[in-house]
């Protein structure tokens, strides 16, 4: 190996920083079902491309059946029939090398899971074993991935809990003895104890009360900033996205329809669906009437031609019914998939004002 010139080395380091931690490229994941001899395919993730950089919280918003859970599964490499990845790739650029998640052996996958890539789920009880004390859950998950053993390992866990303002005594509790918020905090502690580079959080606070939710989110953000990890945060709650995420992607019917910095997206939503999501959000102190969206959510088993939002879209024109809009960059760091918006971004705002109640 040749020694690099210092300048070249720092350039290489910059290159390294520019490579996103996660790149998802043209990913298509379908459920293939065979019912009574009839083949059906459900296009849960259809041509999704995006990237998540280091040390950022990327939010993913979308309603049920928009494909966000399937997207998480494919990113984590948890693919079991009937789910199958058709095309596309998911690449992680971890500090010890780049990994294409679909080229790994189950053993290699097991090595990166929890150590470099970890999860926080909606129901903490699906992570914590109900008949074992919390201490054992930590041992089960974390022990194989950290260098410390025995007393040193216990010390590491204790220090980690303190860092998260949890008492060490929770280690001796059974999951059912803790409140829902406490269990979710323990689940976050468990997911972050190995210092993972990438954390997937799937609706971690949806089941919690408002007061508890805020505390748990603050804790998640605190530990993320401290570890410098990247987080993919999935929820349908737009208010949570506004408060927590750095960048935001909006999914509709298996496709990413808009992406941008969270603040920009809320200040100036471009896609009609995003506009609806934001304008229909009830807020305390806001007395304007809000409207629900007409029509029903799309059926992924029988996808529509053209843009999948067109039957519910107030701006739909002829081309929307025929051609699926591609994801187009309209500004630095801002992408949107809508024929009308990309044709004339300025014409959209007044048209939307008329539609709005």
């Amino acid at each position: 190996m040749t020694l690099l010139h210092p300048a070249a080395a720092s350039a290489a380091a910059e290159d390294d920083a520019a490579i996103p931690l996660l790149s998802v490229d043209r990913l298509k994941a379908y459920y293939r079902l065979k019912l009574f001899g009839i083949d059906r395919e459900v296009r849960a993730v259809d041509d999704v491309t995006f990237a998540i950089g280091r040390n950022e919280i990327y939010g993913l918003a979308g309603e049920s059946s928009s494909g966000k859970s399937t997207l998480i599964k494919t990113i984590a490499g948890a693919i079991r029939p009937p789910l199958a990845v058709e095309t596309g790739s998911v690449c992680f650029n971890f500090s010890d090398g780049t990994r294409d998640i679909y080229r790994l052996t189950p053993r290699e996958l097991g090595e990166i899971r929890w150590k470099r890539l970890s999860y926080i789920m909606q129901g903490s009880m699906s992570v914590l074993n109900p008949v074992r004390r919390i201490r054992h859950s930590f041992t089960d998950f974390a022990l194989p991935h950290v260098p410390e053993k025995g007393a040193a390992f216990a010390e590491r866990i204790g220090r980690h809990l303190e860092r998260l303002h949890l008492e060490r005594s929770v280690l001796d509790a059974y999951p059912h003895e803790l409140s829902g918020g406490m269990r979710q905090r323990v689940a976050i502690a468990l997911a972050t104890v190995c210092g993972p580079e990438f954390i997937i959080a799937d609706e971690p606070t949806t089941a919690l009360d408002v007061i508890v939710q805020k505390g748990v989110l603050a804790m998640l953000r605190g530990i993320q900033r401290e570890l410098g990890s990247s987080v993919l945060f999935v929820t349908h709650d737009m208010a949570v996205h506004a408060n927590l995420t750095d960048r935001l992607g909006i999914m509709y019917a298996g496709r990413l329809v808009e992406e941008g910095r969270t603040r920009d997206l809320f200040r100036q939503p471009l896609h009609p669906y995003t506009r609806h999501l934001i304008s229909s959000l009830p807020q305390i102190g806001d007395d304007t009437p809000k409207k629900g969206l007409e029509g029903s959510p799309p059926n992924l088993a029988a996808p529509l031609s053209g843009c999948r939002f067109h039957p519910r879209c107030p701006l739909a024109i002829d081309i929307c019914r025929r051609e699926a809009p591609p994801m187009v960059a309209v500004a630095p760091g801002r992408r949107v998939a809508c024929h009308v918006v990309t044709a004339s971004p300025d014409a959209v705002a007044p048209a939307m004002e008329e539609v709005r109640p």
């Binding site: 303002h165 009360d209 408002v210 737009m238 603040r263 609806h276 305390i284 809000k290 959510p297």
Partner: protein, 283 residues
Amino acid sequence: MKPNLLDVDNVSKTFAGRGLFSRRMKRAVRNVSFSLDADRPEVFTIIGESGSGKSTLASMILNTARPTGGSIRFEGRDLAHIRSRRDRVAFMSRVQAIFQNPFDAFNPLKPVDRYLYTAAEVFSGCRTKEARETRVDDALHKVGLSLAEVSGRFPHEMSGGQLQRIAIARALVSSPSLIVADEPVSMIDASLRMTVINLFRMLRDDLGVSIIYITHDLATAYYISDRLIIMQTGEVVEAGDARQVLAAPRHPYSIRLREAVLSVDGAWRGTGLDAEAIQPSLR
């Protein structure tokens, strides 16, 4: 004088503590009182976190649980005196319930219209098929659906929002004067949530139905309620006009609740998570 639609008078509910020798009693609801006026339909909201006793209170209003202290009167009549089947059916036709998850409320193996027909038969005494169909179609029209759209379809063929509207139509079949809705939109997609919420407003304004809306979501509570009570561990800590209470809560618990609500504006003003992160009140 006409009696009130509903009088909840100093109501308490105590559950015996768990365990064979435990003498601990759990007081789920403590001395709650409020009344709904018969002539002024309104959306009355009960706000509380899990364990605050709001659902226990709802089941006492629906007469599926008996209070251990105090009394509940519906149209002047004490619920404790409703015993015979005839009285129960008469009561249920006036007071209806809507639940959190519409997919749990409907049997997945039965077409959804079956429930509507049963309601028409039991609560409205529609004996003939034609009478039932007219009644059901009427109710479905009130929620923006029609019998032709719904007939013979199963729950899995519907979206959550549609199914919840059918649940509301089912509640409307018997022309009730009070609907108790326990977290009716928390399981519904964001794009359809406001459709259901606006429906409650329509029920109040156009059909004169009073609604007891039980939720932990302060934003939708602000949007539709006229009056509200905030409950903490079984007690009412604050009550009053919805807008006034939510705009300027007074009780320490209400203030905490109000501050915990994440808002979009708050995120830009920096009153969101960052404020919390500075003072780690994480315990």
